[in-house]
Amino acid sequence: MDARDSFLSDALLRELMAVGQVDVLVGVPTLDNAATVGGVVRAVQGAFARHFPRQRTLLFNSDGGSSDGTPEIVRSLGPADADTVLASHVLRTMHRISVPYHGLPGRATALRVVFAAADLLQARAVAVLDPDAQGVTPERIAALLTPAARERLDLIVPVYPRAPDDGLLVSQLVRPFVRAAYGYRLSEPLAVEFACSGKFAAHCGGLDAWDADVARDGVDLWLKTTGLAGDFRVAEVNLKRLETTTRSRPAVPDILAQVVGTLFGCLEAHADTWRGRAGSERLPTLGDAPAATPSAHAPEGRDASDALRRALRDLDPLLAKVLEPATRAALHQAAATQPLRFEDGLWVATVYEFAAGWHRRAMRRDHLIRALAPLYLCRAAAFLNELASLSSPAAGASRLETLGLEYERAKAGLVERWTHSE
C-alpha cells in the first residue's frame, strides 16, 4: 500500500482515476478565499485555453474546510467564464477537481495532496498559485508553468521587484542566509506561488518531512530549499508582485518563530548538502523585470539604540546561552551608538550563532527564536536609517549585495559551530 493512500480519500482517488493522465496541473490550495478565488480560477482557465490548448490540463483545488463557499465557487465557474471564444478552441478537456483534504490542517497538507495528485496523474508540469492574490492573469500562470512544461526546468520561483526596504525579514535574514547556505541567489525563498516539474513534485511528495515542523510551519521555504539542495534545475521568473487580501497580521515574534524556525529546520534537514558548498551562483532568470516598486517607508529618523540596550539587559541570561561573549560585547558596543549602527558582520554573527544555538538546542527552540525578535527589529530599524541616508535605490540594492557577501564570508564559522554541536 502506498503511503499516499492514507491521505487521499477514496472519492478523490476515483476522481483522479476518471481524469487519467494530465500534462499540466495547477494547484490552488484554499481556505476561506471566496473573495479572490474566482479570479484565480478564471485566470487558470484562461491560461489553459490560451497557452496550453493542446495539453491535458487539470485545475486542482485542495481545500482546508472553507466555510465561505470557496469550493462551490471553484466548482461553479465554467470554462465559458474565462474566455468564451478561446475556451471553444481548446482541443482537450480542461479537468477540474475540488476536494477537501484529510489530515493535519494547513497549507502543507494541501500541497502534499496537490503533489500526490500530480504524481498519480503523471503531470509534467505543476503550478501552485496563491488563492489570496488579486489580479492573477493567464499570462502570469503561463510564465510560471511554461519553463516547467516546455523547458524541463524543475523548480520555477518568482522574482518580485522590491524596494530595498521592502520585506526586511527576507532581505536581512532569509534571502542572504539561503544564498550563503545553499550557494544559490534565490530572491524569494518564501514565495507562495511557484511551478515545478512532475519529477520535483514526485520527489517532494515522497519525502518523510511532510508531518514534521519544517514542512508544517513553512512548506514554501522547505520546498525551495529542497530544490536548491537536490539535483534539480532551479530558475527564477520575473513577475509583478500582486496585492493579496488583508488578513490579520501576526506579531513579529510569531512571524520569526515560523519563518526562521523553518529556515533552521531546513538547514538541519539538508545538513549533508549545504555545509560543503561555498560562494553562490546566480539562478537563470526568465522574463523581463517589471518596474521596481517605490520605497515602502518614508526616510524618517528612528533610533533603536535604547530598544537594543533594553533587550540586551533584559534578555542577558538567555543571550548568554546562545551568543559568544565577543558577539554579546559587540552588541553592547553597538547599543551605545546613537543613532544605532548595527553592522553587517555583527548581525550575521548574531544570526549564525542563533542558528547554531537552535541546532544544539541551547534552549527551547521557539523561545530561542523569540529571543532573536528584538535584535531583528533593532537591526531592521538601523538598516532603514542607513537606507534613508543613501542616494538611490541602486545604492540600496548594492547595500543588500554587500550583506549577502557578508553572509557568505562568515559561513565557515557557522559550519564549524554547527558541526561542533553534533
Binding site: L168, V170, A296, A307, L318, R361, M363, R364, A371, A380
Partner: protein
C-alpha cells in the same frame, strides 16, 4: 553471704556471656547486611547511571535547564546525582536493616519509619523538581513575551512569577514530608498574602495611573505594535 555474692556474680556473668553469645551473631548478621547492602547499593548506582546514560538524561537536563540549576548549586550532573541518590537510599535502607538486626529495643521501628518516609521523600523531590522546571519555563516565556511586548520591568515580572512557582512547590514538598507542616503552611500563607496585598496596594494606589494606562492599552483600540510600520515578508 559470700556464697550469695558469688552466686550473684556467677548469675550476672552467665547472663552477660549469654547475651554476648546471642549478640555476636546479630552483630555479624548486621555487618553482613551492611556490607551486602553497600554492594547492592553500588550495583544499583552503576545500573541507574547506565540506564540514565542510555536515555540521555544529561542532554534532557541541559534542554530543560535542570543542568544549569545543578551547576549553580555546585552539584554534579543529573545522571551522577540521580545514581548517588539511589546509592544512598539503598544503602541507608540496608544500614537501618542492619541496625534492626541488632534488635535494640530503642531502635525498633526505625526501619519501618524509614520505609514509610522514602516514598514521601521521592514525591517531595519530584514536586520540587517539577516546580523548578515549570518555574524556569514560565520565567523564560514571560520574559520573552514581556520584552517583545516592550512591557516595563520585564525581568521583574518574570522573576516574580518564577519565585511564586518555586515557593509554592517548596511549600507543597515540605508539607509532603511533614516537616513543621503547620509552620510552613502558616508562613507560606502569610508571606504569599502579604506579597499579594502589597502588590495590590502598590498597584492600586501608587500605580493607579499606570494601571489605567495599561488597561486602556489592553482593552481599547491598539496602536501599532513594534515593527508594525515595517514590511517583514
Amino acid at each position: 553471704m559470700t556464697q550469695q555474692i558469688i552466686d550473684a556474680l556467677r548469675q550476672a556473668w552467665t547472663t552477660f556471656l549469654g547475651d554476648v553469645a546471642a549478640f555476636v551473631p546479630r552483630v555479624a548478621a548486621a555487618l553482613s547486611i551492611v556490607v551486602a547492602g553497600w554492594l547492592i547499593a553500588a550495583a544499583a548506582r552503576a545500573a541507574v547511571r547506565r540506564v540514565l546514560g542510555w536515555v540521555h538524561v544529561n542532554r534532557l537536563a541541559e534542554r530543560s535547564e535542570l543542568a544549569e540549576m545543578l551547576r549553580t548549586a555546585q552539584l554534579p550532573s543529573a545522571e551522577i546525582l540521580a545514581s548517588r541518590v539511589v546509592f544512598w537510599l539503598v544503602w541507608i535502607g540496608f544500614l537501618l536493616a542492619g541496625v534492626d538486626a541488632l534488635q535494640f529495643r530503642s531502635l525498633e521501628g526505625i526501619v519501618v519509619g524509614f520505609v514509610q518516609f522514602v516514598p514521601r521523600l521521592f514525591v517531595a523531590v519530584a514536586i520540587v523538581l517539577v516546580g523548578v522546571l515549570v518555574a524556569n519555563f514560565a520565567w523564560r516565556a514571560t520574559l520573552l513575551a514581556a520584552v517583545n511586548a516592550r512591557l516595563p520591568s520585564a525581568r521583574l515580572l518574570a522573576a516574580g512569577l518564577r519565585f511564586v512557582i518555586v515557593t509554592t512547590s517548596v511549600a507543597i514538598a515540605l508539607e509532603q514530608i511533614r516537616v513543621a507542616t503547620a509552620v510552613v503552611l502558616t508562613a507560606f500563607a502569610i508571606a504569599f498574602g502579604a506579597v499579594m496585598l502589597g502588590l495590590a496596594i502598590a498597584f492600586g494606589l501608587g500605580g493607579r495611573d499606570v494601571a489605567k494606562r495599561l488597561l486602556e492599552q489592553q482593552f481599547t483600540t491598539r496602536g501599532p505594535r513594534d515593527g508594525d510600520d515595517m514590511t517583514h515578508l
